[in-house]
């Protein structure tokens, strides 16, 4: 009985033949809708920061240098290539590429930085309105990420519930 099963097992191995791929000498093409490294297109990006607010790993940072210039930085360190950013982007400025061989000695190689000129519309010109009610990141305060330390930061003291808003401004009524 057991001898028979040993023979069967041998047969399975023999029938299998050689299946090892000749990778990396010969790389198989990744499928068409593969989710590889996201590529950001600065010419299409309007700087709404929808991607930044919907990134589960919080790998996209936004920082406003001044009223007209916004920096959008993709860090790419912990990015899980889930493709949520590409999904929510209203301008289709993000594409999930077919790149996956991304090993590097310098983690900064993975990042992309966009300096965006923000023209002013009648309102503020920088609003992202998600397709669904769930595509919104609701935190207290406003977003002002720490680009130097590559950290996402939400908040401003004046928005804390327990503290009055902008208490450093004294308005003299007379």
């Amino acid at each position: 009985m057991s001898v028979l099963s040993k023979l069967e097992e041998t047969l399975i191995c023999l029938k299998a033949g050689r299946v090892t791929l000749a990778y990396p000498a010969q790389a198989e093409a990744t499928p068409e809708n593969f989710r590889g490294r996201p590529i950001f297109d600065a010419t299409k990006c309007v700087g709404c920061a929808g991607c930044a607010n919907n990134c589960p790993a919080r790998e996209i940072l936004v920082f406003d240098l001044c009223q007209e210039i916004r920096i959008l930085q993709y860090l790419g360190r912990r990015c899980t290539y889930c493709g949520r950013c590409a999904d929510v982007c209203p301008e289709k400025a993000i594409t999930m590429s077919r790149e996956f061989e991304n090993a590097t000695n310098r983690i900064a190689d993975m990042g992309q930085k966009l300096d965006l000129f923000m023209s002013t519309c009648q309102r503020c010109g920088r609003c992202f309105k998600g397709a669904a009610a769930l595509d919104e990141l609701k935190m207290k305060g406003y977003r002002s990420d720490d680009i130097a330390h590559e950290r996402w930061v939400y908040g401003a003291h004046s928005f804390m519930e327990s503290e009055p808003a902008a208490d450093d401004i004294q308005i003299e009524l007379d």
Partner: protein, 562 residues
């Protein structure tokens, strides 16, 4: 019996002891009871009504109701009902009677509650740290709402070690883990060994606890979490993601379009296929039979490729969002998937036949790691471990979700209750999964992939979801909340229960069988059992202390970096 009838019975028996009850549908029952009778109610449910223990959840509800909440979840598998027994605790008296005397399976959950929320289970016999690191100060409970998600207490002592209990008389200590070649993740078992026999063990794990639940309820939003949940586990990621979205959908009463349900079912079954093939391979590898390990991995590979084609990645499918799925399965993909399934079935059948008769594998697995029906009931064991003991539970049939109520399949069981039984169950389940996917491909109807959610989700509702992962039931509990994120999200992975049964499985067994016993539950966690060195020539014996070993490691690392 539906939830309403069950509630009528509860009312007849407990009457005024029930404060409140919620019956959102026929298959869910939330009963609020007074804290003094929790033990009594749980005993009745677990022993007399013979329900299966699922999980206990603690939550800080102070910002909303001013109180803490404790929920003990049970499953009535034959009646298809999930029942939650809830209790409110005032802030100034955080004590609750431990239910571990009647329900031993609740042991870890109550220890976790004590670590993370500071809720004291009165009467619990083994109140050691479970989740928090040993140097974490007493009185600091990270899951409380007033603790920020990124807080590390100032007096956190990184170097403090876990204190193990006394070694039983006549026993030698063999450390198993935290890193072991047969395990992929860290967990430490301190085995008490008499000769070659294991007499007992003490466990210390949770070394890679990542605080995902806290992140979810403080800085993430509803649609971020499915993608985070998927990373809880490298094997059954899609299971966690589906379980989470289903819990949210249930809480918010969202009805998912049928096509999305079919796609979820197909992805879950694809995941089961790859996981079962992987596990059978690994189990063979652990007992030293690498031929079959290679063959299972070879047979498994096309599954990974087709998953990549459908979802965009081999393993982390990232296919679920609240209200639906992100990607469609087109006609071309359907045709390709059928071809893959045919090939898999053709190749897997001879493997099952060959292994069924292989006496080498049977000798290593028969009678090893036994967990019988009693152990299954008391430790709350799930999945193939329970089914191998003849306990016929399967969430796909008992608590149907996604499209499982529209497909036919058999629940595979075995009677031997040992590792061999688990091998048989998992090998045969592969065919059931193939059958399920084929039916889904036939029945899948056209339609939208997801719901349009225009409004914010209702606040303060509860949702339960049990999803049958390849290694057992994965249970998620969600309370919806403000600011587009849940108030509380609790994940009970199958290994959480199954690991609690390991101590009983390995007792009085050969130490060499430890690896396969542990491997047989398919634990989601690794070992340097090199604590003692013997100089062969002089026979001199030296026991290295952990400190010495650490210093040795650091010295070596320094040498190599220079």
């Amino acid at each position: 019996m539906i939830a309403r009838e069950m509630f009528e019975e509860f009312k007849a028996r407990f009457g005024p002891l029930i404060d409140r009850a919620d019956l959102p549908n026929d298959r869910r029952l939330f009963v609020y009871v007074d804290r003094t009778v929790v033990q009594y109610v749980c005993q009745h449910i677990f022993r007399e009504l013979d329900a299966r223990y699922v999980a206990s959840i603690g939550t800080d509800d102070r910002p909303f109701s001013g109180k803490f909440l404790v929920a003990h979840n049970f499953a009535f598998d034959k009646d298809h009902v999930l029942c939650s027994v809830l209790t409110q605790l005032p802030e100034d008296d955080l004590k609750i009677d431990s239910i571990t005397r009647m329900v031993p399976a609740a042991s870890w959950a109550e220890r976790e509650m004590r670590d993370l929320l500071g809720i004291q289970p009165v009467g619990h016999e083994y109140l050691k740290r479970l989740v928090l690191p040993d140097g974490w100060p007493e009185g600091s409970h990270p899951l409380r709402k007033d603790v920020p998600w990124n807080e590390v207490p100032a007096d956190y002592d990184e170097n403090r070690e876990f204190e193990f209990g006394a070694t039983p008389e006549g026993c030698t200590v063999v450390p198993f883990g935290p890193f072991h070649p047969t395990l992929d993740e860290p967990a430490h078992f301190r085995l008490y060994v008499e000769g070659e026999r294991v007499r007992g063990c003490e466990y210390r794990g949770f070394m890679v606890h990542r605080g995902i639940e806290k992140l979810a309820e403080s800085v993430m939003s509803y649609n971020d979490i499915p993608l985070l949940a998927e990373r809880i586990c490298g094997i059954c990621g899609c299971v966690h993601s589906v379980a989470y979205v289903q819990a949210v959908e249930e809480a918010a009463a969202l009805k998912v379009p049928p096509r999305a349900e079919y796609i979820r079912t197909i992805m879950l079954e694809l995941e089961r296929l790859h996981s079962h093939l992987l596990w059978v391979g690994l189990a063979c590898h652990i007992v030293g039979f690498d031929t079959l390990f290679m063959q299972s991995f070879r047979i498994r590979e096309p599954i990974m490729w087709i998953a990549e084609k459908i979802s965009g990645n081999r393993k982390t499918y990232a296919i679920c969002l609240v209200g639906g799925v992100r990607r469609d399965i087109t006609h071309e993909l359907k045709a390709e998937l059928r071809v893959v399934l045919d090939k898999l079935e053709r190749e897997w059948r001879p493997v099952v036949e060959a292994v069924s008769g292989d006496r080498n594998i049977q000798k290593r697995t028969c009678g090893v790691g036994v967990a019988d029906k009693v152990a299954v009931k008391s430790s709350g064991l799930v999945g193939p471990v329970a089914r191998a003991a003849g306990v016929e539970i399967d969430c796909r049939r008992d608590h149907p979700y996604a499209a499982y109520d529209r497909v036919e399949f058999d629940v595979i069981t075995a009677e031997s209750a040992d590792v061999w039984g688990r091998v048989v169950v998992r090998m045969k389940e592969v065919f059931e999964s193939i059958r399920i996917i084929r039916q889904c491909l036939d029945k899948m109807e056209d339609g939208p992939l997801g719901l349009e959610i225009k409004d914010e989700l209702p606040v303060g509702r509860m949702g339960l979801s049990s999803v049958e992962a390849p290694r057992g039931e994965s249970h998620h509990f969600v309370i919806t909340g403000e600011n587009n994120r849940p108030r509380r999200w609790r994940v009970r992975a199958p290994t959480y229960q199954n690991l609690q049964g390991v101590a009983a499985m390995i007792k009085d067994q050969q130490i060499a069988d430890m690896t396969i016993s542990l491997g047989s539950i398919d634990p989601c966690f690794s070992c340097t059992d090199r604590m003692e060195t013997i100089d062969v020539r002089s026979g001199a014996r030296k026991v290295w202390s952990q400190k010495e070993l650490l210093e040795l490691t650091w010295a070596k690392m320094d040498r190599e970096t220079k």
